[in-house]
Symmetry: C2
Subunit: 262 residues, 2 copies
DNA sequence: ACCTGAACACCGTTCAAGT
DNA sequence: ACCTGAACACCGTTCAAGT
């Protein structure tokens, strides 16, 4: 949320790493991965391409910084205020499990479950707002799990896993499963919001799902019987609801396979 | 497996889409994502850069074709012969759940579970053999879920989900959860095998895990208490075992939340 | 200490010209 | 129908030179 501050750079303040990261996010949001260029960036910042290299090692490091900034924002918001930034798109899907207890009370499994949903939705929303984030996260996590992003995600998800009462020697497994699902599913869902952003969201969405659904229906019946049978289900579905249903699934698995030590 | 056929191109046969894809995979395997260049590719194929454009629309389409070819190979091998292409790296981790039933008998939940593990390991191995595949899959899935790769994955995973007896209206949720976990976890695990491939695999691995583990131990105790506590667990762990433990988790969740109808 | 901007090496892509 | 290879526009990065 603390992302969009300055509109069009007016070379008033000095260049800084923060301002560079901020401008880079704006470029990525506006024009996608291909939109981030040192030339475009320096133009936006009213400077030369070389100037950026004083504050940033290279493009890879810039992308790391940008990803880290957005993720930090997302998990912070999610952990504190619940489903932060959810906007009007949602719907109530958290009843899918039969919601247990209210948020705020510490230590109870129900609160932990809600906490996990909050973190998950925080990332879900961040990826929806910044569609380039999905690919960037995959790249960075598979390239350097020792970076700053992986610990951030592990920490925010893992604390809730711990609060769930999962025995310690299963923390890694449980946290990893949640993290991978969240990133993968959120990325998948970002596909449509990525295409066009200005149109009325529901029209756009339905059209998109209809296209995919139709494409699936036209697959070879011998090679893709299962996928074809999934097409109608795809047409009607609600992204958020599906996403949370997956979370519920994994939470149930965690509870069954790694019941609270007692 | 049907991947490495020709070693050094000898301009004997005519150019073809297949030979281009094949050479592209070799370049990606040898030098990573940055290694795939139309100039390097045309040199390897003993032709000019322009020639490639007769068979392939552009670089994006080439990457799609390459990804599709490798995935097709992976899921085909996984579905037919179990953990195909596992090589000598593995270890027996499938006992983690207490293996149920033998592969080959159709329709039983135990066989379906083994089938899912086989598909999962097929993708796991493919990503380990071609580390660039993880990022490429994330990119492609989040960009075009109507492409050829998504249906391929859905189909091979979903058939096993159906065989598990999951009721139809939960197929999408269950299959998605498995798919996202598989891709995410396999990608994460590819990080180390990506770094250096020629060295003795175990030495390399231990060194890598040690580095990450140490980095985690040095995190701020106030901000990252959970992640720090995970460090020792990281040091000893076995990639394959962890991966399969996650699969077990999700399978359990599926069975609990969506029990077989009837 | 921080910024400028020309220059370098390299990239994806195009296209007139060949066979 | 298929290939050649020079050319174009663009990119990340460097670095001598400025302040």
């Amino acid at each position: 949320m603390a992302t969009r501050t300055r509109r069009s750079q007016r070379r008033t303040e000095a260049l800084s790493r923060e301002r560079i990261v901020e401008a880079a996010i704006e470029l990525l949001d506006a024009a996608g991965e291909g939109g981030l260029t040192f030339r475009a960036l320096s133009e936006r910042l009213a400077t030369g391409p070389g100037a950026i290299y004083w504050h940033v090692e290279n493009k890879g490091e810039l992308l790391d910084a940008v990803t880290d900034a957005v993720v930090a924002d997302a998990v912070a918001g999610g952990a504190v205020s619940g489903a932060a930034g959810a906007g009007e798109a949602g719907g109530e899907a958290s009843e899918a499990t039969g919601a247990v207890g209210a948020l705020g009370a510490g230590g109870l499994p129900g609160a932990a479950r809600d906490g996990i949903r909050a973190v998950a939705l925080g990332l879900f929303d961040a990826i929806e707002e910044h569609p380039w984030l999905a690919t960037q996260l995959a790249t960075q996590l598979s390239r350097s799990p020792w970076g700053t992003v992986a610990p951030r995600l592990f920490e925010s998800i893992g604390r809730q896993v711990r609060a769930l009462g999962v025995p310690q020697d299963s923390w890694f497994t449980a946290t990893s499963a949640l993290m991978h699902y969240i990133l993968g599913a959120a990325g998948q869902n970002a596909a449509n919001s990525a295409s066009s952003r200005a149109l009325p969201p529901d029209v756009d969405r339905d059209q998109f799902l209809d296209t995919v659904s139709t494409a699936w229906e036209e697959l070879d019946p011998d090679e893709y019987p299962f996928t074809r049978s999934l097409a109608p289900q795809l047409r009607g579905h609600d992204d958020r609801e599906q996403f949370l249903a997956g979370i519920t699934l994994i939470l149930a698995g965690i509870t069954v396979v790694h019941p609270p030590a007692g």
